[in-house]
Point group: C2
Chain length 284, copies 2
């Protein structure tokens, strides 16, 4: 009895919390959005409320880029993960609009996905299925300026996702790379990390409108090059289909990685992958 | 003015939170421990309090395995990440004891590490530096039953860490694989994920006592085999030194991965990596 009292005492004194199961969720959806334009974001919010995303089932985290880029695409999910309370973390661009499906549909589509594959990690509305023999296979379910009316009828297994909209579970998280940055390929990066971790990515039939057809700006070629230099080491012999690009990784990464050490990897990152602003070294 | 009021209205109605910087920390250290034995855990807690880890600077999360293995090593950090409030998440075994260094020393060692390498992701007290030409290079700073008195004098860059004690920053998280399980290699898994993400792992001169010399039980060979089958695909041509094992990955993973797709990877996992018990995973 004396010993039991003493045991309880130290754990109580330190306020130990005994965890016996998974994290609980006080809310269903945690939206996280890189907000550059208040006008676009308000259009998204207004449409969200109209389609059933209310304070009862959703919270909205705005990564405030209205006056400056405080956050980039690679910061977003890791910033959200320690802030969100929802069961699902839903990343969106600020220029999407819920014109068709809403909260009930999203919950239903994710329930269907879980029934199909309990180990899913990422779900979105556009992605690459594969790139083989010069042919591009994509799965897309979206209304956007391309006006192609593309649809899927069931969850489609993909190897990349488009950044405009994607979902992960808070208790099954995937975190972005630390050695990439900017506003391209961060959903693709998440899909690579997810696959390495043993997860899988899907395009689900959840329909919204994206008011942009995809931006290929002056940063795109460098982002593409860095993504390739990074992932060809880890996916030797792999082809990769994204919505905006495709890769054939081949053998180059194996040559770069042979006999690798943490130190040699660090040197490689400094020469080839880090942004110049981070290392002060020009890319080669 | 009317438009501004309307804009504010939708964001206010939905309770939007605008995030403008990194997450704040209400406490310095979040300890997370797989607790199988109350007696051992209380010994650790008592020593922690004596060495300056108090409710003012620390919280203690106990993953409750006292009656059953509710959590394994691969669950721990992802369970802690959504629960912890500290700046640092400190994983420990329940059979460590703070016999030498304490809170002030740990904070100082981590400050020194950040000054040396701001991109560090993981820090521990024992790990593998490298495995080359048949030679095992380790960095160890611990008191344990082996009684070797091994020490480091500065942070040492390593490619793996021992599970008894390791630290990561809450705003720079690394998450364990979903396709491995059990009680071996989970710190090694974290180091592999960390390296892929662009982070780095270190052994730091923070001294504690570990009352076990490492357990090689009947699960070890299978865990070792699964770890190897998984990571030889992503680290073609790499040697890897752990505290309890070493690997020469060679070319086998490249052959397995050539022309890989998400579907072929899934099939590979089902055949070679998943534990039989995982076929009926509950979603939570």
């Amino acid at each position: 009895m004396g010993r039991l009292a003493k045991e309880q005492e130290i754990a109580e004194r330190l306020g130990v919390r005994y965890l016996t199961g998974p994290a609980t969720h006080s809310i269903l959806f945690s939206f996280v959005t890189l907000v550059a334009s208040q006008e676009r974001y308000d259009r998204m919010l207004t449409s969200a409320l109209a389609k059933g995303f209310t304070p009862e089932n959703s919270e909205f985290l705005a990564l405030d880029n209205r006056n400056a880029n405080r956050f980039d695409g690679f910061d977003a999910m890791r910033r959200a993960l320690v802030e969100a309370r929802g069961r699902y973390i839903v990343f969106t661009h600020d220029d999407i609009e819920f014109t068709h499906d809403g909260a009930a549909e999203l919950e239903a589509r994710l329930d269907e996905l879980r029934a199909l594959d309990p180990d899913w990690t990422l779900a979105g509305n556009a992605g690459g299925i594969g790139y083989r023999r010069g042919k591009h296979h994509l799965a897309v379910h979206i209304d956007d300026p391309h006006k192609l009316g593309l649809r899927v009828t069931q969850p489609e297994l993909v190897e990349s996702l488009d950044e405009n909209f994607f979902v992960m579970r808070r208790n099954r998280p995937v975190v972005n790379s630390y050695d990439l940055e900017g506003f391209h390929f961060y959903a693709g990066d998440l899909c690579r990390m997810s696959e390495i971790m043993g997860g899988r990515s899907y395009v689900i039939p959840f329909l919204l409108s994206h008011h942009s057809g995809g931006t290929v700006d002056e940063a795109f070629p460098l982002c593409r090059s860095r993504f390739e230099r990074k992932y060809r080491r880890y996916f030797v012999g792999r082809n990769l289909q994204m919505t905006v690009a495709e890769f054939r990784f081949g053998l180059a990464g194996m040559c770069e990685g042979w006999g690798e050490t943490p130190k040699s990897r660090w040197d490689f990152l400094k020469r080839n992958v880090y942004a110049p602003e981070r290392s002060g070294v020009d890319d080669t």
